[in-house]
């Protein structure tokens, strides 16, 4: 498969989610139309028979494929196309949200500490039947701005109950990161140019 790499030079104005004083990272993705660059889905644990297809896949050529399962009111497959600039902005946005640098293990520990602190204060919290948010990113290169070398990145971030955690632990950085990224991705589902293809 032919794969030309697109070097993305950091431009602060292009990275909407980045803090102004923080230089945008160096990231590259494959423009290959068969390569999934970003993937986003929900896993509803209460559903006994779940459609394994992810909700959203964004390919290297900017094609966004949205799949709603047959049990969804919007059942079917939909597509839209992002321009290279839009895709770059999206990736930088996700990077700014913290997805590329997300440390799952550390995030879990942070949450456990938060839960323990609540428990120590006499407050317990329980959420049944989780919905699991999964955000995946595949990059050819990812590294700090100005770095000579940036290795490839395959990142999958998974989190249970983003909605309730956002309310329960609003200051927890990992929760904020995923919630922000999810909001960013969900804007694509609302776009008027999302067209049903099947």
């Amino acid at each position: 498969m032919t794969r030309s790499l697109v070097q993305l030079i950091v431009a602060a104005l292009a990275a909407g989610g980045l803090a102004a004083q923080q230089p945008a990272p160096n990231l590259e993705y494959s423009p290959d139309p068969g390569t999934v660059v970003v993937q986003y889905t929900h896993i509803h644990h209460m559903l006994a028979q779940r459609d394994p297809q992810p909700l959203m896949r964004i390919y290297g050529d900017g094609r966004v494929r949205v799949h709603y399962p047959v049990y969804s009111p919007d059942a079917g497959d939909y597509e839209l196309r992002l321009t290279p600039r839009e895709l770059r902005e999206l990736l930088h946005g996700l990077a700014g949200d913290g997805i590329m640098d997300f440390d799952q293990s550390a995030a879990r520990q942070q949450r456990q500490q938060a839960v323990a602190a609540e428990r120590a204060a006499g407050r317990l919290h329980y959420v049944s039947d989780a919905t699991e948010t999964v955000i995946g990113v595949r990059l050819e290169a990812y590294g700090p701005a100005g770095a000579d070398e940036a290795p490839g990145l395959e990142k999958a971030v998974r989190w249970l109950n983003v909605y309730t955690d956002s309310q329960q632990y609003p200051d927890l950085a990992p929760v904020r990161a995923i919630a922000a990224a999810e909001t960013r991705l969900r804007t694509l589902l609302e776009r008027s140019d999302l067209t049903r293809v099947r």
Binding site: H45, Y71, P73, Y126
Partner: protein, 737 residues
């Protein structure tokens, strides 16, 4: 009820499984909660019991309202407005209030009222599950919060057994389905996994009915050392496990705990099983975990309506967000191993799935009518006001013309006459009715609200007045549980019919108020029952009409809602040990009980079947008439098949009996009985049930042919009637002293 086509499920699952290539095996953040009760687990305590909002240890009733929050809600897919959610909410509130366990609670495909297309999830079923969480129940199964894959999520709820601050370090779970190969059963091998599922200690059967009395920490435990001998782990009521336990398990009818995680499309799971009810009752035994003490409580849910920014509601329903369904709860400790919920709300994503919103009431009755047979019926569900006429209730179900093809009668007890109802006449809960159709394949459905527990007034006379009354509830109730209301007095059957006073010559003078004996037409013969005589205890079932005989004016019959029944183990309710003893007899135990035994005779011919006939021996029986000999009423209608024990030499008690008990005595003993058939040429099969030891020592003698039939367990004798009656002798060589 809507007709449906039986359609194969879920073609949608045959979807190309696109590799989730980007999603590596990264550890998932998991909540540190699990158990039969939410909050129970490694961090908070494995023995923890969670109570609903408001419980402090002193209340008798916890009043909790459930509201739909219109401010935070949008209209979910499948609904035309939020109003579509109201009936399902009323239903699930009623179900959790009623706490009535059943089996076969899961109706699939053609067996429910959910349309086949599009793919629909029953919101009421999903919400019933979430409401269970909101009042303290957790999943009985490991579920996805365990971190286990779905193929292993039906193992019974447990911690991983390693105290590391995380209940769900999946690598540490010990998982083997045992020799039966079925996950979640009692032979699972779980190593050091610490069980979180409270199980009944006598059987470890999560679907077993009736529940033990009482339900508390004396009959349920979490500690595996209390398991029955031979069991390895607590069983949970997953549908596959239920199948192995003998509960309904077909393609359209299954049994599964409502709190089991996992909803399927086209699935009606709107009723509770033993597991969910028992867990609530266990919680209701309070901080001391002992039923019948001052810290007990009951949960009284109510529907608070659709409200903007609800205030004063305990459990809000929100239709928002991207999650399928969940309940979010907060809580705090109120004692060692006891937590009280402080906040709770349910949330459902409006567009994750398309829902079906059931608009039928929670109470459902369905009964098949046999062509040409009278059926004694009652309304075990309340029809809505204005929709309670004969035409309303049956006109949409029964074919043909009223008065020609089908007909309904009631008994005017005041005037002691039958009255044919007009199509416009109303029908009442608590009354009994006769119904008959001459059309084939006729089924009656009533789906409305549960009945309340109003008393049924009775007409009387000094010699006894028969009243045709009706069972008020959709679930079975033991006849012995009914009460007779006499002014301010609430009487047991013993008190209303002391020392068999109602069978004597001067019943009222002897203190008779209402006969303890009730009569129910089974389509072929009357069955008699008195609540106490072995084999003749009697059960009121869904849709049952029946006869009672009243002797005193102003009295009423009370069929108590089981929820309000006492749980005092010293009350008149059967202790668990006695229940088990009776159950052993019913299931043909290995030998006769010390205090007596009985054999049931069953006559069958075509659609007619009479199984209400019992002979036996009891320690307190006499050779002549005694209180355990229950009379049989003359058959109703033209078609009948019945077994009677004729005793024309019993003086004032002479007549036909449906049970015949003797005093225990050794030697050869005989019972004479007759089979009566409205068809004098009918082929009749006579079969028997009873303790093996006694059946093997018994002989049946056909007095018409002189034939002597050797009796064996599971055996039968088929003969052709040559007249409307035929005599038999049952002979037993009795060695019991």
């Amino acid at each position: 009820m809507r007709n449906k086509h039986n359609t194969a499920v879920s073609g949608f699952l045959v979807v190309a499984a696109v590799a989730v290539a980007l999603i590596a095996s990264v550890a998932v953040e998991r909540p540190a909660h699990a158990g039969g009760f939410i909050f129970a687990g490694e961090n908070n305590g494995v023995d923890l019991i969670t109570h609903p909002q408001g419980y402090t240890g002193t209340q008798n009733t916890l009043n909790l309202s459930v509201c739909i929050d219109s401010t935070l809600s949008s209209v979910p897919a499948g609904a035309s407005s939020l109003a579509d959610l109201e009936q399902p909410v009323r239903n699930m509130v009623a179900i959790w209030n009623q706490l009535q366990p059943t089996v076969g609670n899961t109706l699939l495909f053609s067996n429910n009222n959910i349309p086949d297309t599009p793919v629909l999830y029953d919101w009421e079923s999903v919400a019933l599950h979430e409401l269970g969480h909101c009042i303290g129940l957790a999943h009985p199964n490991a579920a996805t919060e365990s971190g286990l894959p779905s193929s292993q999520s039906n193992y019974t709820k447990a911690t991983d057994g390693v105290i590391d601050g995380n209940d769900n370090t999946t690598a540490a779970f010990n998982l083997s389905p045992g020799t039966d190969g079925v996950i979640g059963t009692s032979d699972d091998v779980r190593g050091n996994d610490d069980n979180l599922h409270w199980f009944r200690t006598d059987t470890n059967d999560p679907g077993q009915l009736p529940l033990p009395v009482p339900v508390d920490a004396s009959t349920y435990d979490r500690d595996l050392s209390s398991l029955p001998v031979g069991d390895n782990f607590a069983a949970n009521l997953d549908r596959a496990v239920a199948g192995t336990l003998g509960y309904p398990n077909t393609s359209t009818l299954r049994t599964e705990a409502v709190m089991q995680q996992g909803s399927f499309n086209d699935e009606d799971q709107r009723r509770l099983t033993a597991d969910g009810v028992a867990t609530i009752l266990l919680g209701q035994s309070g901080l001391d975990e002992t039923a019948g003490t001052a810290d007990d409580y009951v949960i009284n849910l109510s529907y608070g309506g659709i409200q903007a920014n609800p205030t004063g509601c305990n459990i809000d329903i929100r239709i928002t967000g991207g999650s399928f369904a969940f309940c979010s709860t907060g809580g705090f400790f109120i004692g060692t191993n006891h937590v009280r919920i402080s906040t709770a709300y349910m949330q459902f994503g409006p567009s994750v799935v398309t829902y079906y919103f059931n608009q039928d009431g929670p109470c459902r009755q369905t009964i098949d009518l046999v062509t040409g047979q009278w059926k004694q019926i009652a309304l075990s569900c309340s029809p809505p006001a204005g929709s309670d006429t004969v035409a309303d209730l049956f006109g949409d179900d029964l074919s043909g013309t009223y008065g020609v093809n089908w007909i309904v009668y009631e008994r005017d007890a005041a005037n002691n006459v039958y009255v044919q109802l007009a199509l416009t006449d109303t029908m009442e809960v608590g009354r009994g009715y006769w119904i008959k159709t001459n059309m084939a394949s006729q089924t009656v459905n009533i789906e409305e609200d549960f009945n309340g527990d109003a008393d049924i007034p009775l007409e009387d006379s000094a010699t006894g007045r028969f009243n045709m009354v009706g069972h008020r509830y959709w679930y079975d109730e033991a006849w012995d549980d009914v009460r007779v209301i006499d002014g301010a007095s609430v009487l047991t059957l013993d008190q209303a019919d002391p020392l068999d006073a109602c069978q004597g010559m001067n019943p009222v003078a002897n203190g008779c108020i209402m006969s303890r004996v009730a009569y129910k037409w089974n389509g072929a013969a009357y069955e008699s029952f008195d609540g106490q005589t072995m084999g003749m205890e009697g059960t009121l079932e869904n849709f049952d009409g029946f006869w009672v005989k009243a002797f005193k004016s102003g009295i009423s019959l009370r069929i108590p809602d089981q929820k309000s029944m006492p749980v005092d183990p010293n009350s008149e309710l059967l202790p668990a040990s006695e229940t088990a003893s009776r159950a052993a007899v019913e299931t043909q135990g290995p030998g006769p009980a010390q205090d007596g035994w009985y054999i049931r005779l069953i006559a069958e011919s075509g659609d007619l079947r009479d199984a209400g006939n019992v002979l036996g021996q009891l320690a307190d029986s006499r050779r002549g008439y005694d209180a355990h000999d229950l009379g049989e009423l003359t058959p109703f209608g033209d078609d009948y098949l019945t077994v009677v024990f004729p005793h024309q030499n019993w003086g004032e008690q002479s007549g036909d009996y449906t049970s015949d008990f003797h005093r225990l005595r050794p030697g050869l003993d005989r019972w004479g009985f007759e089979v009566w058939s409205s068809d004098p040429t009918a082929e009749v099969t006579l079969s028997w049930e009873g303790p093996r030891e006694l059946l093997e020592r018994a002989q049946l003698r056909d007095e018409e042919t002189g034939e002597r039939i050797r009796v064996q367990p599971g055996g039968s004798y088929t003969f052709t009637m040559t007249d409307i009656g035929r005599g038999f002798k049952w002979v037993v060589k009795n060695t019991i002293r």
